[in-house]
């Protein structure tokens, strides 16, 4: 009897096993929940995940030398296929023979047909300067080019005989490459296949990464030093007064970034308000005006001001609920005011410090407009170079590699923060 009931599962009123009905109801609920978050999920996928993934892909993938996409029709034509074949048949280091040059001639005819000589040349030019015009020149004169091609090409430009150039073309004939990452840390492939540093007068990125990190830490520290007392004052004043003061913190926060940055230019430039005042007061000779703009000082001052609210607000939100009786209790038990602050009050504000510091640091690592406007040459950050490659040199692969390194660096710092302070201790408001 008891066995029978155990085997016979419970059913609902309409005879469906209870378990199945429950599973179905749960599935329906899950589906509904999923459908509710679907728009948000799609939004994040489309606007956030996909572009970042595309950017990361672009940093290791450049098909400038393998594929031509017509900008109007979107038609994709493989290019440089004959040279690629020759590379596949011959091992690294083979002296290019007549067959290789004939393949090159054939490929350049193809380039002419689809008007792709410029982009193919540009891809090679990224790694070996001065080669772009060799492609466009060959493209213009290809119709008059007769065999033997080796002599013909070398007569056109003797660079066509350089083994290095052929090595670069071999590299570029597969679209996947790590060369952009190498370039982003001032390295390049050496002829023997290893890595070597670029010449000193080409080094730029490592130095800029270091400078970006240093300035970001400095700015984070400055916002902390300036923001902590402000937040404390705001948190301890009666609500009416603190609300008034809060407006003063928020007002610049609501003002356009460009307006705030240009105001600093007006204040700090060598013919600016501050210098004029100092000279007018006789504290400074007219020739010794302080250089405070278009250098690192300008960048640090303007960015500290702009990022200050990101430190003050999390600190305030943590400080406000701290019960003042803790400190009073400590004082009544004989602690000095410093001890009471350092042992009782300060530890309770750490989640706010962590949140503020992380916000300010991550924002300043990627900051772009302000250093571009006030940084001169010594106050530029890595983001300005990323913008340069996005907008001016149009080497998007290199820009992507630089951005990916920056992203990686920030993630590592985030992980470190989690290990040291604990991300649970973060309180944003």
């Amino acid at each position: 009897m008891s066995d029978a009931t155990a085997n016979q599962s419970l059913t609902t009123a309409d005879g469906i096993p209870l378990k199945a009905a429950l599973a179905r109801a749960e599935a329906r609920a899950r589906r509904r929940a999923f459908l509710l978050v679907l728009p948000l999920l799609a939004f994040i996928l489309i606007t956030f995940v996909t572009p970042i993934a595309q950017m990361l892909h672009q940093s290791v993938y450049n098909e400038g030398f393998t594929m031509h996409t017509d900008v109007i029709t979107g038609e994709r034509t493989p290019i440089m296929t004959n040279v690629k074949e020759w590379f596949d048949e011959n091992p690294v280091g083979t002296e290019p023979d007549e067959e290789a040059y004939a393949a090159l001639a054939e490929d350049i005819r193809k380039l002419r047909e689809v008007r792709a000589a410029g982009s193919a040349g540009t891809r090679i030019n990224y790694e070996r300067s001065g080669t772009r015009s060799m492609f466009t020149k060959a493209n213009r004169s290809i119709t008059g080019l007769e065999p033997p091609y080796k002599e013909a090409f070398i007569e056109l430009d003797e660079e066509w005989g350089a083994p290095d150039l052929w090595q670069v073309m071999r590299d570029a004939s597969t679209p996947y490459t790590v060369n952009f990452y190498l370039a982003a840390i001032d390295l390049k492939k050496s002829p023997d296949g290893g890595f070597e540093g670029v010449p000193d007068n080409r080094k730029v990125y490592v130095n800029l990464f270091q400078r970006t990190l240093f300035l970001s830490v400095l700015i984070t520290f400055l916002t902390f030093v300036l923001g902590y007392p402000i937040a404390h004052l705001l948190a301890t004043l009666p609500l009416r007064q603190s609300n008034l003061l809060m407006i003063l913190v928020l007002l610049p926060f609501w003002t356009s970034l460009l307006v705030r940055t240009t105001s600093w230019i007006v204040l700090l430039q060598s013919e600016g308000v501050l210098n004029d005042a100092l000279v007018g007061a006789g504290l400074l000779g007219d020739e010794n005006r302080l250089p405070m703009m278009y250098n690192q000082i300008g960048t640090v001052v303007a960015m500290t001001h702009i990022l200050l609210p990101f430190m003050v607000l999390p600190l305030y939100s943590v400080m406000r609920p701290i019960n003042p009786s803790y400190v009073r209790a400590a004082r009544s038990l004989g602690a000095t005011s410093w001890t009471a602050f350092w042992r009782i009050y300060f530890p309770q504000t750490i989640p706010g410090i962590g949140a503020g510091a992380l916000l300010v640091f991550i924002l300043s690592v990627g900051y772009y407009i302000t250093p571009a406007l006030v940084g001169g040459s010594s106050g530029q950050l890595i983001s300005n170079l990323i913008a340069f490659h996005m907008q001016n040199s149009l080497n998007w692969s290199l820009a992507a590699a630089l951005a990916a390194l920056l992203l990686g660096g920030v993630l590592i710092l985030y992980w470190l923060y989690d290990r040291l302070v604990g991300i649970d201790n973060l309180k944003l408001g």
Partner: protein
């Protein structure tokens, strides 16, 4: 079915007609230069054809054009770019080819292909003006009168900050000319690594005194503010600030670098026909001469030269202010576009590295 296709065709024609009859978007460099184009080209063009001209600006239109065409989202129909950019973008297949036979002949019947200055007509581009990068100084703030390009790089003789465009192009050439390289040898020297080192050595001498600018409207401002005492600048911007705004700005023609600005049509432009119509309208003899009424850039057609008259103030004779005036050409360099198409990446890389260290 038949009715449907007729309806479709009418609707499509309506869309096409509407799109081309309405407007053409022209991208240029902003400030006094865009204004001169609006007055000399855009307004008369709209008056004659009824096609509305939208004017948009960029620091260098070549950059957004490339991005737009590559992204397949072209919002500009005509862009004003420098020669090396025009050639490079054309090589990369990002510009429409322009049929030179559509350009109107000179008033005396000379065909356009012979009327334009050499180099002004390219496969994908038609030049409108000859402009130049010059050194300008604020005569209120400079003791004495700078007379040669070398004075720009001599902060002992003429103390004070210098403004320079944040780009290797023009900067390196000027540095070499200041170092005594004659204009005709500049690009040969710059083609060697010793030559590049030499140029950077000259720049090293004033590195701490440089204020970098990026938009063409900045140098007149920096000079007027007294933020710099001398600056490289586009000659037309300085002329306008000096004449219209009566700023004490002077131009040093020694070591000027001449270049073309050309109209191009990005591939896939939405209003292609209007764009071509605009270009052929804007680059006829009279329009090019008219532009000189608004800014001191030389017309790219030979036949426009004699039509250039007075500035808009009605009293300034434009002739002597043109970069192409005889007296201004004594030590002038013509920008070598092939050199820059090729070496742009390399030299800017070196330049960025120099800037950052």
């Amino acid at each position: 079915m038949k009715l449907k296709s007729v309806l479709m065709a009418t609707a499509l024609a309506g869309v096409a007609f509407g799109a081309q009859a309405q407007e053409v978007t022209v991208m240029s460099w902003g400030g006094a230069y865009t204004k001169s184009q609006v007055e000399a080209y855009h307004k008369p063009f709209t008056a004659e054809t009824g096609i509305k001209v939208n004017s948009v600006d960029a620091d260098n239109p070549a950059t957004p054009i490339k991005a737009q065409v590559e992204a397949g989202n072209v919002s500009v129909d005509v862009a004003d770019v420098e020669l090396s950019d025009a050639v490079r973008l054309c090589d990369e297949g990002l510009l429409e080819l322009i049929d030179h036979s559509m350009l109107p002949p000179a008033p005396d019947g000379t065909p356009a292909t012979e009327d334009f200055i050499e180099g002004a007509l390219q496969d994908c581009a038609v030049a409108s003006i000859v402009w130049s990068t010059v050194v300008s100084y604020n005569s209120d703030n400079v003791d004495g009168t700078p007379t040669s390009i070398a004075d720009f790089f001599d902060t002992e003789k003429f103390p004070g900050k210098r403004g320079l465009r944040k780009s290797a192009k023009a900067t390196l050439e000027m540095a070499l000319m200041a170092d005594g390289v004659p204009a005709e040898e500049v690009y040969d020297v710059l083609d060697t690594s010793e030559g590049v080192d030499r140029a950077f050595a000259v720049l090293d001498g004033i590195k701490d005194d440089i204020v970098w600018w990026e938009a063409g409207a900045q140098p007149p401002q920096l000079l007027a503010d007294g933020e710099v005492v001398m600056s490289t600048a586009y000659n037309g911007r300085i002329f306008n600030a000096a004449v219209m705004e009566e700023q004490p700005l002077e131009i040093l023609w020694d070591g000027q670098i001449l270049d073309f600005d050309l109209f191009v049509v990005p591939r896939g432009a939405a209003n292609m026909e209007s764009a071509m119509e605009f270009i052929s309208f804007a680059t006829d003899t009279q329009r090019l001469a008219d532009q000189a009424k608004w800014i001191s850039y030389g017309p790219a057609r030979k036949s426009s030269g004699e039509l250039v008259g007075l500035y808009q103030d009605g009293e300034t004779e434009m002739g002597p202010h043109m970069p192409t005036a005889e007296a201004n050409l004594e030590n002038a360099l013509v920008n070598n576009f092939e050199f820059w198409v090729d070496m742009d990446a390399e030299l800017n890389e070196r330049f960025n590295s120099w800037l950052a260290n």
